[in-house]
């Protein structure tokens, strides 16, 4: 298993695409915080500070796309054949990929959180406002961002294994996040909508962007974990019996 995990790390590190994708995360965080400061938000308000840090969780969308590349990317380039020739027990391949992508997701989340912290402090200082990182809430926001990156990377791996087509899986994921979940949320009402995956990850981020009723942070984390487990289970079961042509 360890050699399989090392091999998966080598797959990611030997191509440029995933790194460019993950590099977009800190850039979004930077742009988001700059935008917030430019918009004239009251920097003395602790809520503004929390909102600035919450941008680290938004970048988890890149971890989702990154995760999709794990299996769907191998189908795209035909390297999945080689992978299964080495490891015909496909469940082990899925486990190794989930491990590696969750770890890289965690690292990406940490970098985004660090960027958010550094950028927010710098902007606040430049405006002569004091940035207090005393509130436990702020640390929970940053920690939640790391957890959301891990969860969405894992969901991405599973989604890519189910759909097996990069374009299809990315389109589905982005459409879900941007449109579909919002529509379903309106249909079923916010009481139920908060159990949907992206609302749950929003709760986990501790950054209420859509302004709807959300689960508590820990609840969002558990719900996201449950989605990751269900998707991963489905992906493994369908992968085991599928013909690789």
């Amino acid at each position: 298993m360890l050699s399989l995990i090392r091999s998966e790390f080598r797959k990611v590190s030997s191509v440029r695409g995933p790194w460019l994708l993950l590099a977009a995360g800190p850039l979004i965080v930077l742009a988001g915080i700059a935008g917030l400061v430019q918009s004239g938000a009251n920097l003395q308000d602790p809520a503004t500070q929390s909102k600035a840090l919450g941008h680290a969780g938004l970048a988890a969308i890149f971890a989702l796309v990154f995760g999709i590349l794990a299996v769907a990317g191998e189908y795209r380039h035909g390297t999945i054949t080689d992978t299964y020739l080495t490891t015909p027990k496909r469940g082990s391949v899925a486990a190794a990929k989930l491990t590696v992508y969750a770890l890289i997701g965690a690292a990406a989340g940490l970098i985004c959180s660090g960027t958010a912290l550094a950028m927010a402090s710098a902007f606040w200082a430049a405006r002569g406002a004091s940035f207090h990182l005393s509130a436990a809430d702020d640390w929970r926001t940053l920690g939640g961002a790391v957890a959301a990156n891990i969860g969405l990377a894992a969901i991405g791996v599973a989604l890519g294994a189910l759909v097996r087509n990069v374009v299809g899986a990315v389109a589905l994921a982005l459409a879900w996040v941007a449109v579909i979940e919002g529509i379903i949320g309106q249909l079923i009402g916010s009481g139920l909508a908060r159990w949907l995956p992206f609302y749950a990850s929003e709760a986990l981020d501790n950054a209420n962007i859509t302004g709807t009723q959300l689960l508590p942070q820990w609840g969002g984390g558990l719900v996201l974990l449950a989605y990751a487990a269900i998707f991963a289970g489905l992906a493994i079961v369908t992968t085991l019996s599928r013909d690789v042509t």
């Binding site: 050699s3 399989l4 030997s14 440029r16 054949t81 015909p88 013909d243 690789v244």
Partner: protein
């Protein structure tokens, strides 16, 4: 001595049968040619032997075991399949290192196989820039990485120039002389007569002939006329091409 045994192998995709009751063996120490027209079920059969496609009925054994049950499959079997792909942005040496790492093969072996297939100079280049012939060589390097006793090759001469084909022939003869089992699927008959000892001919997913090459013709012309006769009538059953 590891040999390949295919017993009553059948695969249906929906209602169409790609392979029907196929039985043959590829013995150790020989190059076995696996011949048949396009869409005759060769690739599906190779994929079933390798555990990538699940047979509807029948079994394929390597060294007496199905592929999935081999403790270290790559240590026993190497394969170059037509659809085996490469990430275009990955360097040739990195492609092999990924496989070497998963199979606990030391990194020095990567340089050895790159040298063996004549790609030592291209080791640091991204595969997206490779010609078809270079990809075939890289695929062969990946198959040889683990020094397997059994080799399965699907149309390995595709994209190779005449010098490359001569090189491939010498390499396969050499590997068979070392006692390895080599199964080569091809529809290039002229090439086959100079490389293989035994032939297995399929058409419409069914066995048409299995035996020494000498029995049906030593020259390309003899083999061609026998091949055309054997594969002329695909029968009344519908047969599908391998889905890509």
């Amino acid at each position: 001595m590891a040999e390949i045994q295919v017993r009553g192998l059948t695969k249906t995709f929906g209602k169409a049968a790609a392979v029907r009751g196929l039985t043959f063996a590829a013995p150790a120490g020989q190059v076995t040619g696996f011949l048949g027209p396009n869409g005759s079920g060769k690739t599906t059969t190779l994929r079933m032997i390798l555990g990538l496609v699940r047979p509807t009925t029948g079994t394929a054994l390597i060294d007496g075991m199905i592929y999935r049950d081999l403790p270290k499959p790559r240590a026993v079997v190497g394969a170059v399949l037509e659809s085996t792909g490469f990430h275009p942005g990955r360097r040739a040496a990195d492609h092999l290192r990924v496989i070497a790492t998963a199979n606990r093969v030391r990194n020095r072996r990567v340089d050895e196989v790159l040298d063996a297939v004549g790609l030592a100079d291209a080791a640091g280049r991204r595969v997206g820039k490779f010609s078809l012939g270079m990809r075939q060589r890289l695929g062969l390097a990946a198959a040889l990485l683990t020094d397997p006793q059994v080799l399965l090759l699907d149309e390995p001469a595709n994209g190779l120039d005449p010098a490359g084909i001569a090189w491939l022939r010498a390499m396969l003869r050499g590997l068979a002389a070392e006692g390895r089992t080599i199964l080569v699927a091809s529809h290039v008959l002229g090439e086959v007569t100079q490389t293989v000892d035994t032939v297995v001919i399929v058409s419409a997913g069914q066995l048409r002939f299995a035996g020494p090459l000498d029995e049906i013709g030593r020259t390309g012309a003899e083999l061609e006329s026998a091949f055309l006769k054997l594969t002329a009538d695909p029968g009344r059953h519908s047969v599908v091409a391998y889905p890509q």
